[in-house]
Amino acid sequence: MAWDPEKDVIEVIRGPQKAGGAGGLYRAFGETLRGLKTTFGQLRMGVDTIQYPEQKIPVYPRFRGRHQLHRFEDTGLEKCVGCSLCAAACPSDCIRVVAAENTPEHRVSAGERYAAVYEINLSRCIFCGYCEVACPFDAITMGHEFELSDANRSDLIFTKEMLLAEPIERTPLRAEGE
């Protein structure tokens, strides 16, 4: 069917065309004042906004932030043996482990094997903490860091060195009873 421009009518509903009178005055000021009452009423409530990033909310101890890999404090060996159980448990499939064998000259972990490659793709991670639960050696834990944004996706693939490094404490931890 051809388009008939005559039939294509747009109905526009407008307010009263003529201003003036008491109704006009109310519409001009009354409603505005009613709105401002709410605005000025809030002034005495004080400020609730946190001035992030200058101010930060402390996180709970069990907060699941960025992962950390750990070393034994006494020997300095990595706790991770590259068993890949974290990768098996990971629901978003963001962990990749490639294991290798320790040699007497090159001992990295306490077991027979170590993780030659340990990568977590944090742009995929859903921070569920299953990896931490799966780890038989407490080698991986969820830290408190959540400020992970980056300009490049590939920079969000954290390598073993990045995960082993002592994290910069950017986020305060909630104290007992806080």
Binding site: V81, G82, C83, S84, A87, A88, V97, E112, F137
Partner: protein, 823 residues
């Protein structure tokens, strides 16, 4: 012994009536027919009779007061079995607790973790608690049982599987258990490394992580990998394998249990030579010879150069096709050669063509034996081949037949065979005299005088009489397992006739459970012949419109300048062809050599003008034909490495550039074309072939196999074997390890053979040669050197050298007699 007849019995398992074949072990029957799992460790039907060592499979059987081991009780009629009573549960928990007493808790570092029967059984049937607080036993770990296998004795649960495998399946008798009780451990005699052709199977057999693969050590966990089923094309046995793939790399190869092909085992070449797919020396980009050097170039340049060379040579092009070529590539090559370049000079058989009539007779479906026939026949005659070198997995099948099914194994070969000690009788003949030997055996069976023929073969006439008597008395199901060597050499046609006469005398034509089974020289030799990659046959073994030159004539024509170009499709004539000297001359004279190769083998390195990278078997798709006529399918398991491209597409592209497009858009399109054009493949499809393959000789379409002349043939009297007369007869063999893939695999490189000179003790003494000395073998001015290997079983007057090795191959020498001296 013929196949056992299945008689069904009915028994009750957990209250359900179940029908199972009599004689089957309860654990198997319950799982297969009753859908009830009885956990096992030590039992595997593949290893042979059960020993009941682990007690994991205890069940209650009504009428027997004590619990019975389900793995070692055969089902009987009316048996009432309970596998889920509290008594059984308690027993299972107790056994698992007991097994786990000494088992270390290093699952996170153990390679078996995730695919471990002990984990599965402990999870499924165990109690979950251990009362054991004492220290566990400790061994040094991990130790190298061999360069390929690591052993961790702490993890061993003493199920005896590996030891039984070594003693009863592979029969290499190397693995033993030492000490008693809790101190028992698996070891080899005196701690020697466990090096055997089939050692890798114990890795797959081990139900815990005690025996692990060293090349696979810590490479991946089961959830990191994907399994991709395909076929191993490293030898004609074409075992069904499954590749473990991670990040587009093959990390290990496992067997894909197929009773009709491999019986679930793999040889070490098949298990570890996958490493050659991912080594740096593999050719993964096209190369062009430029200023005497091969240099990598782009595909466009390489294809253009090859197309130019080929269209320039035109009908003066020859082609040699190696055994790893699939049927699809073979068909596209014949298109390129016959229909595009107008040349008929192509061959897939090394050492010359066989008369087409004889080829048809030898491949006739009525005369075809299958691989399981080897195990169930009354007698198997191994004729002029060495299964462990030529098609290794058949060696295990023959051993199984002898051990478990009373097969009478008879051997007629020139080189002492690994199977000799299992044979009812074995006879030796002079190298290259298989024809005369087969003729002698045929004559003896026909009741004709055989002594003169036996002498012509260089064999003891009494041996021939003994073999014939054994064959006659064994029964009607006889399989002749013969090597392609029998039909190679100048008298190849006579060899084929003698073999066919022998089969006729034994009444093998149309015999169920008997027949001929060839071990060809190349993996897919049978398929290539059937799709017409022969100078004298067209597709489907039909008559060729024009008969071209065979491989030997191609070499001569190249050397004489009658042919100017040659295509080497997965073939290195300096390694595969019987005469290196001829091919050195031929390739030196050829103006264009176009090679498809994975490695820079001698001919490619020195002579190729254009080299195209060959796909590895994990990257290939297509079909191949097993020597027992099973059409099998290769599937791509990984991405092609480097710049490698599909070879079928490359062959099609070359033909298209020269001006005759085969219009092959996909590989399966070419497969479909083959199934249409080969009359005896009619009705096949890739879906029908599926994962297990299909034997075309068992299908109805086999009736359209071209008619072949019937035996008996009149035989031309064979010439007498050369008399040593102070010299030695030259025999050659190709070792299982003689392959570029083995040489390139880091784990297997230690097995890659160097030339060794096999001598009998008497000859060695006469020549003053000691074991391990360097010796020189010379004939007509050519010589090769190698280490003397004195072998007690070697026949006097003969020296055996290896072929198909890059340096000092026996193909450099011209027989039949050679001189051996210390160097």
């Amino acid at each position: 012994m013929p196949r056992p007849v299945e008689k069904l019995v009915s028994l009750t398992i957990n209250g359900n009536e179940v029908q199972a074949p009599a004689g089957m072990m309860l654990a198997d029957a319950a799982l297969k027919y009753g859908d009830v799992e009885i956990p096992v460790f030590c039992y595997d039907a593949k290893i042979g009779p059960p020993v009941g060592a682990c007690r994991m499979c205890l069940v209650e059987i009504e009428g027997i007061p004590k619990m019975q081991a389900g793995c070692s009780v055969a089902v009987t009629d009316g048996m009432v079995v309970h596998t889920d009573t509290p008594t059984v549960k308690a027993a299972q928990e107790a056994v698992l607790e007991f097994i786990l007493i000494n088992h270390p808790l290093d699952c996170p570092v153990c390679d078996k973790g995730g695919e471990c029967p002990l984990q599965d059984n402990a999870f499924g049937w165990g109690g979950g608690l251990s009362r054991f607080i004492e220290p566990k036993r400790h061994f040094e770990k991990p130790l190298a049982l061999s360069p390929l296998i690591a052993i961790d004795r702490e993890r061993c649960i003493l199920c005896y599987r590996c030891v039984r495998y070594s003693q009863e399946v592979a029969e290499d008798f190397q693995l033993v258990l030492e000490e008693r009780g809790a101190d028992t451990f698996v070891t080899t005699f005196d701690g020697h490394p466990y090096v055997a052709p089939f050692s890798g199977n114990i890795i797959e057999l081990c139900p815990v992580g005690a025996l692990t693969s060293r090349p696979y050590r810590f490479r991946a966990r089961p959830w990191d990998i994907e399994q991709a089923g395909s076929v191993c094309t490293l030898c004609p046995a074409q075992c069904n394998v499954s590749f473990s793939v991670r990040d587009e790399r093959v990390l290990r190869v496992l067997g894909r249990d197929h009773e009709g092909v491999d019986d679930g085992w793999l040889c070490d070449k098949g298990r570890f030579a996958y490493q050659a797919i991912h080594v740096d020396q593999r050719i993964t980009a096209p190369m062009l010879r430029d200023g005497g050097q091969l240099r990598p170039v782009t595909w466009e340049i390489a294809i253009e150069a090859a197309a130019n060379l080929l269209s320039h040579a035109g009908a003066n092009t020859g082609a040699l096709v190696g055994g790893e070529t699939t049927n699809e590539e073979g068909v596209l090559l014949t298109h390129l050669m016959r229909e595009t370049l107008g040349s008929h000079d192509l061959d897939s058989r090394p050492g010359g063509a066989l008369e087409l009539e004889l080829l048809r007779a030898l491949n006739a479906p009525t005369l075809q034996a299958s691989v399981p026939d080897l195990q169930y026949a009354h007698a198997v005659l191994v004729l002029d081949c060495e299964p462990v070198d030529d098609a290794p997995i058949l060696d295990l099948r023959l051993r199984k037949g002898v051990r478990h099914h009373g097969v009478k194994l008879l051997i007629g070969s020139s080189r002492p065979s690994a199977l000799d000690e299992r044979a009812a009788h074995s006879a030796r003949f002079a190298p290259g005299c298989g024809e005369a030997f087969a003729a002698a055996l045929g004559a003896e069976l026909a009741g004709q005088p055989s002594a003169s023929l036996a002498e012509a073969a260089g064999a003891d006439p009494a041996d021939v009489v003994a073999l014939a008597t054994e064959l006659r008395e064994a029964g009607e199901e006889v399989v002749i397992l013969w090597g392609e060597r029998l039909t190679a050499g100048p008298r190849r046609n006579e060899g084929a006739r003698a073999l066919l006469n022998l089969a006729q005398e034994l009444g093998l034509d149309g015999q169920d459970g008997g027949g001929l089974l060839e071990i060809p020289s190349g993996t897919n030799s049978r398929g290539l012949r059937e799709v017409g990659v022969l100078p004298n046959a067209s597709i489907g073994l039909g008559d060729a419109a024009t008969v071209g030159r065979d491989s030997e004539q191609i070499g001569e024509a190249l050397a004489a300048g009658d042919l100017s170009a040659v295509i080497l499709l997965h073939s290195d004539p300096l390694l595969d062809q019987p005469s290196s000297a001829l091919w050195q001359r031929a390739l030196g004279k050829a103006s264009a050599v176009i090679a498809h190769a994975a490695f820079l083998t001698p001919a490619v390195l020195e002579h190729a003008n254009v080299v195209f990278p060959a796909e590895s078997y994990a990257e290939k798709e297509g079909t191949v034909v097993h020597p027992d006529s099973r059409v099998q399918r290769l599937r791509r398991s990984i991405a092609r490495q480097g710049e490698t491209r599909a070879e079928w597409a490359l062959l099609a592209e070359l033909a298209a550039r020269i001006g005759n497009d085969p219009k092959a858009l996909t590989c399966s399109m070419v497969s479909a074309r083959i199934f249409e054009q080969v009359p005896f493949y009619a009705g096949l499809s890739l879906d029908l072939i599926g994962g297990v393959g299909i034997r075309w000789s068992e299908r109805e379409a086999a009736a359209s196999f071209p008619a072949a002349p019937a035996a008996p043939f009149t035989l031309d009297p064979p010439p007498a074997a050369a008399s040593p007369n102070g010299l030695l007869r030259l025999g050659s063999f190709r070792s299982i390890w003689a392959s570029p893939d083995v040489e390139a695999s880091p784990a297997l490189a230690f097995l890659h053979p160097r030339q060794r000179v096999e001598l009998s003790p008497a000859d060695a003494e006469r020549l003053g040669i000691a074991h391990g000395e360097n010796v020189t073998v010379a004939s007509n001015g050519d010589s090769v050197t190698g280490l003397a290997h004195i072998r007690a079983a070697a026949p006097d007057g003969t020296v055996f050298l290896q072929t198909s090795i890059p340096e000092g191959s026996a193909a450099l020498l011209e027989g039949p007699l050679v001189e051996v001296k210390r160097s």
